[in-house]
């Protein structure tokens, strides 16, 4: 079993018409459902739900506080390599883009780790482009062994892997993975991914499930809003999260809501997700899946990030550089995309506290040998 049959089933549906057919009564029923189902979720992200956004916000706020308290998990990304063999037309790392390619040696990884750790960050997300020759599974394992000395939690956002490869990373201390499907539209997908290993839609779609099988504790998925109609991609993202939650009850499932950002390249979004759309999406996700983690990155601007705090977000990045080696080396580098919120960890903490939220830096303890533990 895989999420693929569900994705295919929904891909064959006239979703635009289904969204248009939702009534106000459907939305009210969905918001107040004891256990909202797929149809309820569809109703809450439909145009008919727009007048009910405040009502949804009230419910989402209560659910978020009940399940997570007034806390926000903090993390920061570390780009290990921007070499890439893909030609994703919307990405700055596109192999055809003329940018300086870099790859951190292990010594540099440790320098970056020290620089990030000095800011107080404890949860790290390591990223690479899709180039196994420059960022092999073995290289990643070596990096994690170094990074685990500085960070109790290390997650990955890298190319799709096999179960055994995920398991090997878990063994050296990785506890979470992020994988963006980019778009769940299988017909559109090849146009956006004309070449490279990422072209394999199904292999990428099943990667989060393979990581669950490999022992990941936290699995974060998402679509890049702007590649296709945001409502369609949001619907499939929510259903994918629900599928994983149901099948892997021991894994914390989370969703990111990234919107297209300027990058090195000329691709322009075909569907703009407005702030209101983004909020509607988040509220619907929270009501549909109350214990879902929701991540909002520095792609969003500071004002918006602060305004959405009560609406369902549980995890935020800060002190971000999307450049390889960008934490310890300053220079004229090109990142994967432009960030909108350049605040440091310290500044982000102050903002969260101002709004009555507690930044949580550490929420995981990796049990490994450097604490002298053995069973």
């Amino acid at each position: 079993m895989s999420f693929y049959p569900i994705c295919t089933e929904y891909g064959a549906m006239p979703l635009t018409e289904k969204f248009a057919a939702v009534t106000a009564e459907d939305v009210k029923r969905a918001i107040n459902a004891e256990s909202p189902d797929a149809d309820d979720f569809l109703a809450m992200i439909s145009p008919a739900a727009v007048p009910f956004i405040e009502e949804m916000a009230q419910k989402a706020n209560k659910l978020t506080i009940q399940y997570f308290g007034k806390t926000i998990q903090m993390f920061t990304p570390l780009y290990l390599s921007n070499y890439c063999t893909n030609r994703c037309i919307y990405c700055g790392f596109n192999t055809k883009n003329n940018i300086k390619r870099e790859h951190l040696e292990l010594k540099q990884v440790e320098e970056e780790a020290k620089a990030i750790a000095a800011t107080g960050m404890k949860q790290l997300l390591i990223l690479t482009g899709d180039a196994r020759i420059k960022a092999s599974p073995e290289y990643l394992q070596d990096c994690v062994k170094i990074l685990s000395k500085y960070f109790p939690s290390v997650s990955i956002e890298i190319y799709a892997m096999d179960v055994e490869e995920y398991a090997a990373l878990v063994k050296v201390g990785v506890d979470g993975m992020t994988m963006f499907q980019e778009t769940y539209n299988e017909e559109l997908y090849p146009t956006l991914h004309p070449a490279g290993p990422k072209k394999d839609f199904r292999y990428r779609l099943d990667a989060p499930e393979r990581s669950c099988k490999g022992g990941m504790r936290v699995v974060n998925i998402g679509a890049l809003l702007g590649l296709d109609d945001w409502r369609k991609d949001s619907l499939l993202t929510g259903l994918h999260a629900a599928y994983l939650q149901k099948k892997y009850p021991n894994v914390d499932i989370a969703v990111s809501l990234p919107r297209m950002r300027p990058h090195a390249g000329s691709f322009q979004p075909t569907s703009i997700a407005s702030d209101r759309d983004m909020v509607q999406n988040m509220l619907a996700l929270r009501i549909f899946l109350p214990r879902l983690g929701i991540t909002v990155s520095t792609r969003e601007n500071p004002e918006f990030r602060e305004q959405i705090l009560p609406l369902g977000v549980t995890k935020m990045s800060a002190g971000v550089s999307t450049e390889v080696g960008g934490h310890s080396q300053k220079g004229e580098k090109v990142g994967q995309f432009e960030i909108s919120d350049g605040r440091s960890a310290e500044e982000m903490c102050a903002a969260l506290k101002k709004h009555g939220y507690q930044p949580v830096f550490k929420d995981w303890q990796c049990l490994d040998e450097h604490y002298g533990e053995s069973v």
Binding site: Q66, K70, P152, V251, G356, V360, F361, K362, W364, V375
Partner: protein, 258 residues
């Protein structure tokens, strides 16, 4: 009446309310919560403890007089719970441990079998083990055999604020298990904590209901009072319940043997 102390793990406490540390908007409120509630035992998820942090460590906000009760939140197996307990001890967190073994993130229901295994290992190592479990007589008996210091049945799924849904099962544990029964998880209102104490529970542990209240300090105070009221009601021996009215002046009082 002699002083009614709560005996747990070889220690005596004035308060029968245990509190938690999760979900607060600001950990700096924790000392006031402790004071308002009167609680003397506080549980902390070891996964949240950061001894290397120079600022903002939850440990900084735990009053010195509190009995520290690290918990194994995040453990999915007995083995992981044991490792976390040992790590807590190595970090200087003492030898009390609340066992939480959960591998179902939807309902966060504890795994009784894995909990009993961890309890047995840790009790033999000298830990004061407080296991969080379903309100199940057989699990509770296995915990007694395993050397637990108390049994901590849930009132409802953790964090749900749904109240004492397992009331009849908790009542059986109170009747049958010789260890202290601490109702843990699910209690959402002070009245529900009071009800558990009236039934004869030895203590209650409350976190979400206090941490997510609009005014956590006032809610902590309310829970402290409710637990105390429930305990005093239990000790006072409430009158029997009847299905029908029972006149305080009996109708047959005129019938005399004399």
């Amino acid at each position: 009446m002699s002083e009614d102390l709560f005996e747990l793990g070889g220690h005596k406490f004035n308060s029968r309310l245990l509190v938690g540390t999760g979900k607060y908007a600001d950990d700096s409120v924790i000392p006031e919560v402790c004071e308002a509630s009167g609680s003397q035992i506080i549980t902390v998820a070891l996964r949240r403890v950061d001894l290397e942090s120079t600022t903002g460590n939850v440990m900084d906000f735990i009053p010195k007089h509190m009995q520290f009760l690290p918990n194994t939140s995040g453990a999915r197996t007995a083995e992981e719970a044991v490792r976390i307990a040992r790590l807590a001890k190595a970090m200087g967190c003492g030898d009390w441990i609340k066992i939480e073994v959960i591998s179902d993130n939807k309902y966060l229901l504890p795994d009784g079998y894995e909990t009993a295994k961890a309890t047995e290992i840790l009790a033999k190592e000298g830990f004061i083990v407080l296991p969080y479990v379903n309100a199940d007589l057989y699990v509770a008996r296995s915990l007694v055999d395993a050397g637990a210091a108390a049994v901590m049945p849930l009132g409802a799924p953790i964090g749900s604020n749904r109240g004492l849904q397992t009331k009849e099962m908790v009542r059986i544990l109170i009747d049958e298990i010789a260890l202290p029964i601490v109702v843990d998880a699910g209690i959402g209102r002070p009245s529900e904590a009071c009800e558990a104490m009236e039934m004869g529970a030895d203590a209650c542990l409350v976190n979400t209901a206090i941490a997510t209240a609009n005014n956590p300090i006032l809610m902590a105070k309310a829970f402290g009072q409710a637990v105390k009221a429930g305990r005093e009601a239990y000790l006072s021996g409430p009158g029997a319940k009847h299905c029908h009215a029972s006149a305080s002046s009996p109708l047959t009082g005129f019938l005399s043997e004399d």
